[in-house]
Symmetry: D2
Subunit: 462 residues, 4 copies
């Protein structure tokens, strides 16, 4: 085994964001070069299985290949590649040297390299989605769902443009992310299931396989069925790029939702707002020089990783262009997709840790709410005036707010003083008056909606 | 009407790529500021309709609003905005000044600006998809489908890495794009139908509407149903950004398919390849200085537009981040989505024109095919040798190809000379020998597959 | 003149962000298609001038061409292009039909289209930089410089990670942008001066011009000198793409500085922070439904425009790849550079308007400063303790801050209570003690530095 | 030492593109986490040196720190960070535990984390540029310069739009890249020298250092001078982001030049063009299934790496926005810059290997040139006719070319047959006639220009 000091590595995914061995091993299982080779070997095995079923190769071949691929190491394949200068030919050689003379010709039979490479990648990303990505993301969704439910009645000032607007509840604030994240998880699910394989040969026309099979598309279907994959409608040397493009879009747009959440929480943690906090361990240092600091470093990290990986979508779009039956200019570039997945998983794991320990500072939430309490009711007041027939309610209330700022009187008090408006006031129902007098009741259906959203997603993914 | 010399415009979409008045008008109907305002007025009307149905506002209100919005011009709204500094308040003022005193309070009733803006945009993009984008794209798909069908048997050398590989047919080459483009059209269809509206108020909690309705979500549903839209599961001040993000991804990944096609055709038009040509009108000038030139300017233009618009996806991802119940930093940026749509439509229209007049140079296709005819059979030869039990067929044939290059003998002749190989040859069936002797037969199922793909998509969109 | 309702336009630069006619005309002068054609005609004139100087063409030719180009309209060129399908041949035809038979052959003599197109674009971007972009940016710089100077002593809490750190002054906060923006302006200056022209013919080897001149590079130099431009070291059909790539990088990285400023000001305008405000006109509406709102819409707009245009850099990088002596795939894409410039200018103009009317709320700045005043001194305290020989000062103070949070005592008081620390305290000089007791003095050299930076840039660009 | 199977790594830079140990070690020296830590330790040492010089700390301190930092391993720092949750505090602790009690307080004295982190990064990128990046790039430049010189007289058809245009020489084709690459190398040089450090404390106002120094900017200057760096004009907690943004732009725009070269060579290697080839080793396999293939895999790889890394520029632009005195959202993202550098170096090394072994197929260059030899002369013919007074030379020759295509006659022959044109012909000088009769002479000053460019850059970087 070729080993190396992990801190000699260049990508931060391979040293900094892999400090937890367990997490790294879980990712490496799908995202490393070992994984890449392992899945390629699986595809070569699937081929031989179908050949044996169809009586084209010796019955013993699948067992021989199964045993061979258990022995083959990535290192051996790379050593062979150093000679052949061709990675898949190297892989094939490594299998062939382990099997009987009779089986040997059927290794890679009628296949082109990318029948193996693209099929293997679709398979490992599909598996990674099923077994790693989706479970991790759903875990975070559950954490958020619990916070939303718990805080569904906690009145919080709603903020638009960074300005106090009208009230929501903190649970409703979180429910936004439960809903958006839930939808993204479904999109990842859908697009990962849509990843395709191929067994259509060097230019996609089944040239080689049609020498041996009357039904080369059926043959392709059988091989892919062994791997629980489907073929694309048309291949060239490679699988059509759109399914992986959609899959990566699903991942990146999910990453944006994580970054949006992180940004919101960062700002709620500002010194002047301070509605939430990150639990700080006793020995933790906030700043190398300002011992009093409590920085939202985890949320900052998530946004930062998003900035690092989001632009990769450009690469995917460029990789949709491959000349004629293919050029190889998508080969190196597509080798960086695993790093994006690792980045997303790292961000999600971090958000889960920090969300689980989120501290909600109810006193500060209340204090901030009180700050503009008087003004908040401008909206219901104007709408109620309009509903009661005031012909220019918005303008009337806008002026009232300017006066309120100057005089320190509440809108309610100003209404009472106004010859023009006080008649309208008397027309209001008790419940309507209550909204003006107790702005904290003006939360619409924030609580019910929160509950509904949480229930939906808890059911969806239970 | 505020008019201006079109060549004073800054965006090339507004002068250069709008030279055909008919095309420009078709786009402007959905993509201009006039369209933007028109759809916003439609949303304000839908609101009043539902209020009237529910008996909240005068019965006559919808008719009054309907008449009002027919009169309102964009210019008037902009003049009003110059005073209010708020675009939707300006719009509302323009309606209110046209309706009766009784109706006036119900204009924009309980709504926040983005109930109107986001709903109107979802509506116009959905309509643009249904009535403009999808029909135009399907037209191009049909053009390609016809070429594919017509050329399904035309043998062409397959090219991988720009190198001659094994044969396909030209129809099969085109069928690739029929299939990929067809799938993208379906994705645009799906994602345009998924665009969402909202009527949930300033922070998405239905604060205002819940004063008047016990079922504010039903009320939202009713208003949106008037416009044939659905609500998102959760809104803040704005509709959740993912549906439009997915829609734009569908557009951009479609644009990539057009660019990929354009690139392939450009290269087929190279002087040394010259398999296709663009029909040149009698007066057309190829170069200002080289009168003999026939340049693939239309394909180049399509790729160039793709380069201009593809990176816009980064904007959409950044716009997924909007602080708390929203900031406005997605407002100006999202105003550029129409330009992307116009770019895509311009590219598709151009490709349709040039594809319709595509000249296929069969003589050159044949000449290119002949160039490496001898070598092409290396693949079936190696596979057949392997199938007949040769233990190291790939290597044997690789060496044969080196020899063929040195000696000018065909692989077939070299096989005949080889003590080792000629025994295998005799073992080949007649049909197998034929493939080696007549490489133009080695096209796999290119023709059948082409037919199948074309039929599928002609049925899908007929 | 072909006119059109401006609201029928598709790009928001051509309706929404061009509402001020004066601003639009200033931009259109360099950034429209009219400008594009005008500069191309200038290049054709420069060519004829040099031919006449060298005695190759009739003496009267320059005057004839000068008169011709004054008459030619963009519309005429476009009509001609509809026939020739070639834009520069159309342009040449329009000139030729206006000049004498003797002059006619010397129009466009030895030139290729891109001798004209690329030279004209370099020229107009250079001129746009000199006459429009740089003056506008320097105006904004001066506005900021004045704010910085005025606020140089206004103590403000410094914020890192959104957390209160140690003090700065508000002037110092602004000086950051004076400095960063100043450097960017210099970079734009440098890179605009580095834009290059060419007169090297169809493939850059001076094939045509070397028929007539022994010194074709001298000839190129002369033509470009007429336009105050230099040639690139090597051209193909086009000017090497790096100078324009650098220029656009300079513009975009400048745009980022504007967006960074806007972001900072947006956050300072948050309800809970409220250290600055945007002056609101009496009739201005903050929200269509919440009459009390004062939104940072101008800062939001600037960030939003940045998000729209920043990704265009990807287009420039892709355009660095042009096959062999050039393909045309950079043609349409480079037509969008003017829109980016218009976006940048729009953002700068808006920032200048809003910065000029910036309201600094000193009461709130003070209030926010007071909030963590006690904790701020953790840094100087720890450093002073260290300097006085405390072996583990950071840790000691970190624990003190935890205690301060629990007990409501100041760090100073806790030091006084501490057996371990009070000895150190007595060792402090009076000035040092003062820093701990009056944290508002702990601003380092913020004021001096601000002054120095402001002076430097006021001198640099006076 | 924490070691790991290199194939368990996730980033392809850390397994696939690091197969040559020597190359990897050279990169790792600057680009790994070990390098990152090593340079941070260097900065801490520089600080203590200056403190000692100024008499603030014990004379022995620098030596103690020097010895300490030699012992410290990355692993130890990471273990410490696991406790402190703060990377620089961990680093400081590791030093402090190794030095005397007297020295201890002066470790990191008055510094904030980013005084260390940003200074260290500027330093290592500057060093990486000087010692690794620039030498490697200059090596490739020399290789290209040699090819250009050697091929300066080799006539080659110039290609615009993929169409045969007029002749150049192959050396001139390569000289394009010598020139563009040379200019980029100078830009990297310039921008790497402009990377800045800082020693201005937590918010950039020298709050802490001004307690101890009357001239904190001088103190900063001294510390940075130890490292051969300069300070930025203004810092916040971090160095202003523009210098690194410019540096990365220089790298990426250089990468584009490599990709452009690779693309050109790829296309010259097409089966139908085949003007150059890549030397193939005897055992090398071109395709796993088509033994005859010789694929331009190295050029494809370079373009592919460019597609992977180019979009990272978006990250740098986003990182220009850091709230107030800084947020941390540029921390993780900027950790990926080394990977970009590694990608660029990998591409350059690969291009150097493949350029060194470039095979120029003169026979094919000639064959391609012959293909349109007749037509090539359209350009000089039209210009000469114009110069001799033909009033509509371009149109006359354009028609001639159409006739030439129909009749198989050469333009010369057609001119001879033309009543209208033959008079002009007789007017041509002998040298001019020669150009029409021997198009291979129509190369302008391609050879001289090539020589000039090569000489310039060989001198520039000798």
């Amino acid at each position: 085994m070729l080993t190396r000091d992990i801190f000699a590595n260049i990508s931060p995914m391979d040293h900094r964001y892999s400090k937890r061995k367990k997490d790294f091993d879980a990712m490496s299982k799908y995202l490393s070069e070992n994984a890449s080779i392992k899945y390629q070997l699986e595809v070569e095995l699937a081929l031989v299985k179908v050949l044996a079923e169809r009586g084209l190769c010796p019955e013993k071949a699948p067992q021989e290949v199964r045993e061979a691929i258990e022995e083959i190491t990535t290192e051996e394949v790379y050593e062979e590649e150093a000679k052949t200068k061709h990675n898949i030919r190297a892989l094939v050689n490594c299998i062939q040297r382990r099997v009987s003379k009779e089986t040997r010709p059927y290794i890679h039979f009628t296949a082109t390299s990318y029948d193996i490479v693209d099929t293997a990648n679709s398979l490992r990303y599909k598996k990674a989605a099923e077994e790693l990505i989706l479970p991790k993301l759903k875990e975070l969704l559950q954490t958020w769902a619990e916070i939303a439910l718990q805080e569904k009645d906690q009145v919080q000032i709603g903020r638009t443009h960074g300005q106090h607007a009208v009230p929501v509840t903190f649970g409703f604030t979180i429910a936004e992310y439960v809903s958006r994240f839930g939808e993204r998880i479904k999109e990842i699910e859908l697009k990962s299931q849509n990843l395709r394989g191929k067994f259509a040969g060097a230019v996609g026309a089944y040239n080689a396989s049609s020498i041996f099979f009357d039904d080369p598309e059926e043959f392709e279907k059988d091989v892919l069925a062994e791997l629980d994959l489907k073929a694309g409608e048309h291949s060239t040397q490679i699988v059509a790029p759109e399914p992986i493009t959609d899959f990566v879009h699903a991942l990146i747009s999910t990453f944006s939702v994580l970054a949006a959440f992180a940004d919101d929480m960062r700002h709620l943690q500002r010194s002047e707002i301070a509605e939430i906090g990150e639990y700080f361990s006793k020995d933790q240092v906030g700043s190398s020089t300002m011992p009093h600091k409590r920085n939202p470093i985890n949320y900052e990290n998530v946004k930062s990783l998003w900035k690092a990986f989001m632009p990769q979508m450009n690469t995917l779009y460029m990789d949709q262009l491959s000349e004629h039956q293919r050029d190889l200019t998508n080969s190196a570039s597509s080798r960086f997709i695993p790093e994006l997945i690792a980045g997303l998983l790292s961000a999600a794991a971090r958000l889960n840790r920090v969300s689980t320990k989120m501290v909600v500072d109810k006193a500060n939430i209340r204090k901030n709410f009180e700050q503009n309490k008087k003004m908040i009711v401008a909206e219901p007041l104007y709408i109620l005036l309009a509903a009661k027939g005031h012909p220019d309610a918005h303008e009337a209330v806008r002026k009232l707010t300017l006066k309120a700022q100057e005089t320190d009187l509440s809108l309610k008090e100003l209404v009472a003083q106004s010859e023009e408006l006080k008649g309208f006031w008397e027309d209001f129902s008790d419940k309507q008056k209550e909204l003006i007098l107790q702005p904290e009741k003006y939360t619409g259906i924030a609580a019910e909606k929160t509950e509904k959203i949480v229930k939906r997603w808890q059911n969806e993914f239970k």
